[in-house]
Each structure stands twice: as structure tokens, then as C-alpha cells.
């Protein structure tokens, strides 16, 4: 570690981001397999089983298949927008990992406004999404893009508010400090407020990730595949990758904000492993919700957001503030 820290900061950041990116792509490939296996078990199926032992090579086979597919561009598509959209979609989804400290001192950039950066960047995915919907020049895609903007605007606020509860409890926006503040007590164990905030976080995360039952923009029973209906081959793969990156990033955030990040039994070097396990736990929680409910309508989703989640999370935020003031010893 001492050799690494003696390198120039620019080189350090480059090496670190390359390492994080490489590890991330590998994890993402297998997160898809995890979800497929998990969903299969939920549905009394076996899931991928044929490619490799227990289907372990399935993600690789999928990747190869998508690489070899013909890359179709519809004749009436807005070509620059259509081609650029997957990249614009992918970049913010990968960028959110920049602020996450995977262990004390290991991370690309430990910003002093980490949570803020994470939430701001994570909302940027909507730009790529709307470009994909618009550029495809397809009515299903257009409707889907319109729904996406609606939904993400509606759910970012309650998502932000529920994420702000741990921030207030820790008294810092820096992610590593929030993690360190949970050394004694994970925020999910914080009486009443912690559990409510985690519940709100999971619900709003499902909605902000556009996963079922809030996946109205994908809504394949009405909009076929929504904004990505015209995409094929590697562009489709990039969109899929970005979506899973976003979900995984949110899972890491959830594990960091509520589940004590890298805290766990065993030696310190096990920290990142614990962190990964906790993130996967949050991921499976989101997956469980996804595969258990029927989708609700766009107007109902908006109603739930503005009339229920927004006031509830706001109230929770005030309650947190009140508790903090009450518990802080007055000078």
C-alpha cells in the first residue's frame, strides 16, 4: 500500500478506476446470473443450467451471443442520437461507483459530498434513456421515454430523502464517514427511524431503478420492450449492463447507508467481501420485490410517489432531525 500511495495522484486514480471498472464488469455479468437463478428458484424452475457447471458460463455465452448479433439501426431512426444513447446511458451508471469506498482507503474518489454526487449522477441516466426513446423513432419507445422521465422525476425526491436520513444520523455527506459512523450501530438498527428509512429506501430504489412492479417504461406487455425495443447486439448489451450497474450501485449505496458497509466479523481485509455480500443482499431484496408483484399503472405510480412516499419520507426526515436535536447533549 505504501508503494501505491507514493505514486502521483493522477496515476493512482487511473489505476484505481481501471481496477474498479474491471471488477465491476465481472461482477455485473455474474449478478445477472444470480438474478436469473434467484428468479428461477422463486418460480419453481432451475434457471440457466446447460452452459458450464450449474450454468456458470451462461453470462459469457450471453455476452458472446450479443457480440455476434447484427447491429440493426432502423431506417427512420435519428442516427446520432440512437447510436450515442447507450453510451450516454452507461456513463452515469458506471460513474456512480466512483464515490463508493469499498474499504477504508480503497475507492476512486472519496468526495466530501459523496452522497450528493452519487444521487446527482444517478439521475443523469434519464438523459441517455430519453435519447434512446426519442432516437428510436418508435411509438412504443417514445411512450416509454415519456413515462421514464415522469417516473424518475417523481421518485428521485423520496429516494433522496430516504438516503438523507443516514446522512443526518452520521452528520456527513462523505460516504466513508457515514460508513465509519456505523461502527457501533448499523443505521438499520437505529430505533424506528432506521427501519422506516430502509423500507422507504428499498421501495423508492425499486421505483427509481424502474424495476417491477414499477417497470412501466419497460412494460413489455404493452410497450413491448419500451425504450430499447429497437436496440440489438452490443448496444442492447450496453443498455442491459448499464441497468444492472445502476441497480448494483444503488445496492452498494443501500449497504453503505444502512448495513454498516464493510463492518463485519473477521480480519479487516475481509471488509470488501462483507460489503459485497451486503450489497448483494440488498440486490436480492430488490429482485425479490421485482419477481413478486404485478406492475402498477403510470398514474398509480405517480400517485404513490407524490401522495404517499414524498410526504412520508419528508416527515421521516423531520423526525430524524428532531431525534438528533433531542439526543445531542446541549452545551
Amino acid at each position: 500500500m505504501s508503494g501505491f500511495s507514493s505514486l502521483p495522484p493522477a496515476l493512482q486514480a487511473t489505476i484505481m478506476s481501471a481496477a474498479v471498472l474491471g471488477a465491476l464488469i465481472g461482477i455485473l455479468a455474474y449478478v445477472t446470473l444470480l438474478e436469473r437463478k434467484f428468479a428461477a428458484r422463486l418460480q419453481s424452475r432451475i434457471g440457466p443450467y446447460r452452459v458450464g457447471p450449474h450454468g456458470l458460463l451462461q453470462p459469457i455465452a450471453d455476452g458472446v451471443k450479443l457480440l455476434l448479433k447484427e447491429d440493426l439501426i432502423p431506417a427512420s431512426a435519428d442516427r446520432p442520437v440512437f447510436n450515442l444513447a447507450p453510451i450516454v446511458f452507461l456513463v452515469p451508471c458506471l460513474l456512480i461507483f466512483a464515490t463508493i469506498p469499498f474499504a477504508p482507503g480503497i475507492g476512486v474518489a472519496d468526495l466530501n459530498a459523496g452522497v450528493l454526487f452519487f444521487l446527482a449522477i444517478s439521475s443523469l441516466e434519464i438523459v441517455g434513456l430519453f435519447m434512446a426513446g426519442w432516437g428510436s423513432n418508435n411509438k412504443y419507445a417514445l411512450l416509454s421515454a415519456m413515462r421514464a422521465v415522469n417516473q424518475i422525476i417523481s421518485y428521485d425526491l423520496p429516494f433522496l430523502f430516504s438516503a438523507l436520513v443516514p446522512v443526518m444520523l452520521a452528520g456527513s455527506l462523505r460516504l466513508s464517514e457515514i460508513a465509519a459512523a456505523q461502527a457501533g450501530l448499523w443505521f438499520i438498527a437505529y430505533p424506528v427511524i432506521g427501519q422506516l428509512a430502509f423500507l422507504a429506501f428499498v421501495i423508492t430504489a425499486v421505483a427509481a431503478e424502474n424495476r417491477a412492479p414499477f417497470d412501466i417504461l419497460e412494460a413489455e406487455s404493452e410497450l413491448v420492450a419500451g425504450f430499447r425495443v429497437e436496440y440489438s447486439g452490443m448496444k442492447f448489451a450496453i443498455i442491459q449492463l448499464a441497468e444492472y450497474a445502476h441497480v448494483l450501485g444503488t445496492s452498494f449505496l443501500g449497504a453503505l447507508l444502512f448495513l454498516g458497509a464493510w463492518a463485519g466479523p473477521g480480519p479487516a481485509w475481509l471488509g470488501p467481501v462483507w460489503f459485497l455480500f451486503k450489497a448483494l443482499f440488498v440486490f436480492l431484496l430488490l429482485t425479490w420485490v421485482r419477481w413478486s408483484f404485478v406492475r402498477i399503472r403510470v398514474d398509480q405510480i405517480l400517485r404513490v410517489s407524490w401522495k404517499l412516499m414524498l410526504p412520508a419520507t419528508l416527515l421521516l426526515l423531520f423526525a430524524t432531525a428532531a431525534v438528533i436535536v433531542w439526543r445531542t447533549p446541549h452545551a
Partner: protein, 382 residues
């Protein structure tokens, strides 16, 4: 209703969106040309005919011993009911007596078919609402698991899983194989418990309530005006079931309840069908308990095409299929083939309600309503 294809929407806020015939929720090959204002449907043009196979003309060229097998292919999800309608029409003209055991067996397969068909309906409908990548797919796979059990029973009985050719003029073709009764009882008990599971998953689920209650309301008047039948009609408050109103095939021997709901929305139709699951299981148990001994057909087994000749005359036979009234109008000229034949498909008549209830719904509701109508396009287009 104006022809939505003829309206020029240039410069307006309206959007014409084509759904089908190739669409995940087309339930076969339904095509709806929707006019949207935002997400709200303001106009519907329903197009059918993509699966037309000249069934009625085909029936004129096939002998009475041949066509029951083809009749399965009108409503391929519930093949037993269309077969039964066809042979009943021929039996009415020819005044053929059907032995009691054959009548009971017809009831038995008819009710098992209703269970299998409702399994598919529940699964696909939930998939319409929940998506192939969400909770809907979970329920779909559960339902298909149970449907398979019923199809296994049919396979043991007939040798086929989807299109049977079980009925023939004068009776049925196959008797129950050894051990089938026990297998059937076990399957029915299992399905009964699984239907409880579905209800636990759906009935108290707020998301399911939000998607189904008050959606796609068919008023009692509309239901009677457009001539819908089956669970749709009973979901709209009309207490009519052919099995009880005009019993055929010894239905008068069995006790069952005909569920009626008055709300007329998707949830009411769901509830009617869920009760029908249980009532069908109840009838199956009664058949197995009271199955009389005796011949399974009043005519010898099929040897030649000229074997069954129906005298000159005409008849309309109707049975209560899983989707409603399946009717067969037959004109015979004394030969071994019908002179004319006409199907009254339950799905076809039920589908005619769609343009009335889709207007004003949102795009997401369109698929939920379509699924609750439960059309099978083999029967619509024939």
C-alpha cells in the same frame, strides 16, 4: 364508431399506436389500432381475421367421424368443449342416444378442461399485468405447472395433450384407463390447494387490487346488448350458465354453484373464474364418485368414413365452455358429411365488447382488460 385509420391527426396531440397482431399481449393475433391522447385511449379499431383457417368450409368436406378432431382446433385452449358442441349437434339431428357413462365422461373431461383453460387464463392475464420480467411471470409459471397436471391426465386418457378427438357421435372414444381415477382425484386435490395459493398471492395484494378493481367495467346492459357469455356475463351480474339453464350431458345430476358478481370489472371476472376453478373440481369429484358402469358409446368404434350418416335436418347445440357459450349450428343432408356448419365462438362474441370498454382506459389497462376477456384467436377467427 369512426374509422380511426381515416382520421388525420397531423398537428394534434393525438397518436395512433398499433398493437398487434405481433405483440406480446395480443393473445394470439389480435390487432388493436389505438388512438391515444397521452396515455389515454380515445379510439379503438379492433382488427381480427389473422388466424382464419376456413373452419366452417372445412367441416363440409370432412365426415362426421373426422371433424371432431378438427373441431378441437377452433378453441385450442379448451378443445373438449368445441368437440362436444359438434357431436351434440349431430346427435340432435340423428336422435342418437348417448349412454349414461359416456355423458358422465363428457362432463368429466369438460370440467377438467375448464380447470386447464382457467389456469392458462390466470397465468397469461397476470403476465399481461405483471410482465414477463416481473411478478406476472411468476404466477404464469405456477399456473402452467398446474395446467400440465391436467394435460397429463388427458394424455393418459386420450394420448394427446392439446387436441383430443375424444368425442364421437354417440358417445366417447376412450374409457378410463386403470388407475386413472385415483390419479385424477390426487390431481384435483392438489390443484384445489394450489388455487388457494394463487388467491393468497393475488386477492390481498394491493397492487393487484389497483390494477383490477374498477378497470374495464362492463355494465349489465352492455353485457346483454353485445351478447357476451360465460364468466364475463356472470361478472356483470347476469346469472346465466348453460349447464344449469339448459342442462346437457346429464349436468342436472350434479350439484354446483354458479358464481355471479355485480361489479363488472376485471376483479369481478377474476373472482368468477376463481370460484369456477373450485366448482369444476367439485363436479369432477361427483363424476368420479357416481360414474355408472356401461358402454361408452351407443355406436361401434370408428372403422370407416361412411359409418356415421346423419339424416336430413338441422340443429343448434350449445355447451358452456370455459369462455362462454360454444355453439354449433349444423345442417345435414343425409350423407356422411354436413351440408353446412357454423360456429358460434364464445371468444368472438366476447371480443365484441372491447371497443366499448377500451375507450377511456389507459394503455396499461388495455392489456389488463384484454386479458380479463380471455380471447382465444383460434375460436375468434376459426
Amino acid at each position: 364508431m369512426p374509422d380511426v385509420r381515416a382520421i388525420d391527426y397531423a398537428g394534434s396531440e393525438r397518436l395512433t399506436m398499433n398493437m398487434g397482431p405481433q405483440h406480446p399481449s395480443a393473445h394470439g393475433v389480435f390487432r388493436a389500432i389505438l388512438t391515444l391522447e397521452g396515455e389515454t385511449v380515445v379510439g379503438v379499431d379492433a382488427v381480427i381475421g389473422y388466424l382464419h383457417r376456413c373452419h366452417e368450409k372445412l367441416a363440409e368436406t370432412l365426415a362426421y367421424v373426422q371433424y371432431p378432431t378438427i373441431a378441437s382446433k377452433t378453441d385450442y385452449v379448451a378443445a373438449m368443449s368445441s368437440e362436444l358442441a359438434y357431436v351434440m349437434a349431430a346427435e340432435q339431428i340423428a336422435k342418437v342416444e348417448v349412454p349414461k357413462r359416456a355423458q358422465y365422461l363428457r362432463v368429466l373431461v369438460g370440467e377438467l378442461q375448464r380447470i386447464a383453460s382457467h389456469c392458462l387464463w390466470l397465468g397469461t392475464w397476470c403476465m399481461d399485468m405483471g410482465g414477463a420480467l416481473g411478478g406476472g411471470a411468476t404466477i404464469f409459471l405456477y399456473c402452467i405447472r398446474e395446467r400440465e397436471l391436467v394435460l397429463d391426465l388427458f394424455e393418459a386418457l386420450v394420448g394427446a395433450r392439446l387436441l383430443y378427438g375424444f368425442h364421437q357421435v354417440g358417445g366417447v372414444r376412450y374409457d378410463l384407463p386403470e388407475g386413472w381415477t385415483d390419479l385424477c382425484r390426487r390431481t384435483i386435490d392438489l390443484i384445489d390447494s394450489r388455487v388457494d395459493e394463487y388467491e393468497h398471492m393475488l386477492a390481498d395484494n394491493p397492487f393487484f387490487d389497483m390494477r383490477t378493481k374498477g378497470v374495464g367495467v362492463i355494465s349489465r346492459e352492455l353485457a346483454q346488448d353485445v351478447g357476451i357469455s360465460g364468466p364475463l356475463l356472470r361478472g356483470s351480474g347476469v346469472d346465466f350458465d348453460l349447464r344449469r339453464a339448459y342442462p346437457y350431458s346429464s349436468y342436472e345430476d350434479f350439484e354446483f354453484r354458479v358464481p355471479v358478481e355485480t361489479a363488472g370489472d376485471c376483479y369481478a371476472r377474476y373472482h368468477v373464474r376463481m370460484v369456477e376453478f373450485r366448482q369444476s373440481a367439485r363436479i369432477v369429484r361427483q363424476v368420479l364418485d357416481g360414474l355408472p358402469e356401461g358402454p361408452i358409446s351407443s355406436r361401434p368404434g370408428v372403422k370407416s368414413l361412411a359409418q356415421v350418416k346423419v339424416p336430413k335436418g338441422e340443429a343448434y347445440a350449445r355447451v358452456e365452455g370455459p369462455r362462454g357459450e360454444v355453439g354449433c349450428y349444423l345442417v345435414a343432408d343425409g350423407s356422411n358429411k354436413p351440408y353446412r356448419m357454423k360456429w358460434r365462438g364464445a371468444s368472438f362474441s366476447n371480443l365484441s365488447v372491447l371497443p366499448h370498454i377500451l375507450v377511456g382506459a389507459s394503455v396499461a389497462d388495455v392489456v389488463a382488460i384484454m386479458g380479463s376477456v380471455d380471447p382465444v384467436f383460434g375460436e375468434v377467427d376459426r
